[in-house]
């Protein structure tokens, strides 16, 4: 009995498969299993929206000295469900002159893209939709679908605000994809594999401790990719109303919303998988059923950090944001990639390699911070700003 609970989820899967085997032929069992796993994983963005919107409104409410939702159910936990029902029964408006097929296709594409990410995210040992040998490239490739869907939405709406949002998407999402790819490449380099399961297995020490540069770059690029404050120029409600989805209403708007929170959760889950040790934790080898628990806890912590940043930082200007991506993050992640490559070829024990990696990373952070500080000082002098208030 205890042995069953120790690896509960995997054993449950085995029992389920055995039960199916008792009355179905072998290929049908595989198909049924794929369908069940697929339906569970595809619901992840929806589950994320129903829980994380409530969490976000509570967290940001606390940061802004408010209470947040507290009317619908205890502590307002049914607020998200009430919103979902409202979206389902709202009238759908397609503006005059919109490019109808593209306009209708964009929400479907963005929701599908958000769901597709979950296929390769490992929740625990042996708990992954598909353990692809190109897992991390799959993540990067599927993550780019969002860009296409957002441009489609902005272009098809026949609205100038939406179009400005789409313009900004091109610059922002493309620029931040480069440091993201480079930091993920450093992970693949240390792990020696692109399979997400393999990356987690390889993390005797969380990679965030070996390569803080890659982790920070991924974290910043990730929050830019999902378009959240301080990188929310694509939707910037105070400048361009809501950017690319201003003309959407009803459930079509709902799919954009679900994709945003699904992507937020997915980005945090990927950061956990690649840099924070995924489902590894104390006793996770003896009791594999603890793995998903550790995974969810770490992911929620990353989500909380992103919400904290959203609640406290002002929005960047587009030139500052693009400059940061190309002039700071790209050189820093390239330097990190090369440094890790050099260290891995040194004939020294693994512990020394780890210390050297961390040391080099701290040096990169120090140089980047010094140069940023100097640039800020130059900018303040050039614009006659008070250095005390404009430092950083």
């Amino acid at each position: 009995m205890f042995d069953y609970i120790r690896n509960f989820f995997v054993n449950l899967g085995t029992s389920w498969t055995n039960w199916l085997n008792s009355f179905l032929p072998e290929p049908a069992v595989t198909v049924v299993n794929f369908l069940v796993i697929g339906i569970i994983l595809v619901m992840m963005p929806v589950i994320a929206t129903l829980t994380l919107t409530w969490m976000e409104r509570k967290v940001i409410g606390r940061i802004q000295n408010r209470i947040g939702p507290n009317r619908v159910g205890p502590w307002g936990i049914f607020q998200a469900i009430a919103d979902a029902v409202k979206m389902l029964v709202k009238e759908d408006i397609v503006p005059d002159g919109a490019d109808r097929p593209v306009f209708n296709l964009a929400p479907i594409l963005i929701a599908a893209g958000a769901a597709l990410l979950w296929a390769v995210i490992p929740f625990g040992r042996g708990m992954v939709g598909a353990d692809l040998n190109i897992g991390v490239i799959y993540l990067v490739a599927v993550g780019s679908i969002t860009t296409v869907a957002v441009i489609m939405a902005g272009w098809a709406s026949n609205n100038k605000f939406a179009l400005i949002g789409a313009f900004r998407v091109v610059a922002q999402l493309l620029s931040y994809e480069v440091p993201m790819i480079l930091s993920i490449a450093a992970v693949a380099l240390i792990a020696g594999t692109m399979s997400t399961m393999g990356v987690v297995e390889a993390q005797q020490v969380p990679f965030a401790l070996l390569m803080p540069v890659a982790f920070i770059a991924y974290f910043v690029a990730g929050s830019a990719e999902v378009g959240r404050a301080p990188f929310d120029l694509l939707e910037a409600d105070s400048e361009i109303v809501a950017g690319y989805f201003v003309e959407y209403s009803g459930l079509k708007f709902g799919w954009f919303y679900i994709a945003e929170y699904g992507n937020l959760f997915a980005i945090s889950a990927i950061a956990t998988t690649l840099f924070l040790g995924g489902w590894r934790g104390p006793f996770s080898h003896e009791v594999p059923a603890l793995g998903p628990l550790y995974f969810i806890i770490k992911t929620i912590l990353v989500v909380f950090l992103l919400m904290w940043i959203r609640g406290t930082w002002p929005r960047f200007r587009i030139d500052q944001m693009l400059g940061f991506a190309w002039k700071v993050l790209v050189p820093a992640t390239l330097a990190n990639l090369l440094w890790v490559a050099v260290i891995l070829k040194l004939p020294v024990p693994q512990l020394v390699q780890w210390v050297l990696m961390l040391g080099g990373n701290l040096l990169i952070i120090f140089i980047a911070a010094t140069m940023l500080g100097r640039a800020a000082k130059r900018y303040a002098e050039a614009h006659n700003l008070n250095p005390a208030s404009s430092a950083v």
């Binding site: 369908l35 595809v42 009238e91 296929a119 790819i181 692109m194 109303v241």
Partner: protein, 118 residues
């Protein structure tokens, strides 16, 4: 491994089906009462002026060009990273050369002020 890709194929079908099912469900539930004022483009209550579908600013193309260079590089870096432990010292030398050529390109774009916002 082939069955893993079969899963991705099935999963992709489900992932595209879910939003479609949701929209069809909403189609049955929602009211349908369009009128000209409701269908007007929403630009802060003003009548829209001029053509919406204007040309992209040239600046965006510059970013897209630099991006393409680095994105193609990614296709090269990932296989290199996975095979790195099995390769000799030449893998390191070759990647250092490659990255420095890339960096040269980035510095050139930087110097030409392609990364500044005009």
């Amino acid at each position: 491994m082939l069955s893993q890709y079969a899963f991705i194929a099935i999963f992709a079908v489900i992932a595209f089906a879910l939003p479609v099912i949701g929209l069809v469900m909403a189609w049955f539930l929602r009211p349908k009462k369009p009128n000209p004022a409701k269908n007007a483009t929403y630009e802060c209550g003003m009548e829209t002026i001029g053509d919406t579908w204007v040309q992209f600013k040239a600046q965006y193309y510059l970013y897209a060009l630099v991006f393409v260079v680095f994105d193609v590089e990614a296709i090269f870096v990932f296989p290199w990273a996975v095979a790195y432990n099995k390769l000799g010292l030449y893998a390191l030398v070759e990647m250092v050369l490659f990255v420095f050529i890339l960096l040269g390109g980035l510095l050139y774009a930087w110097q030409k002020k392609a990364l500044e916002w005009h």
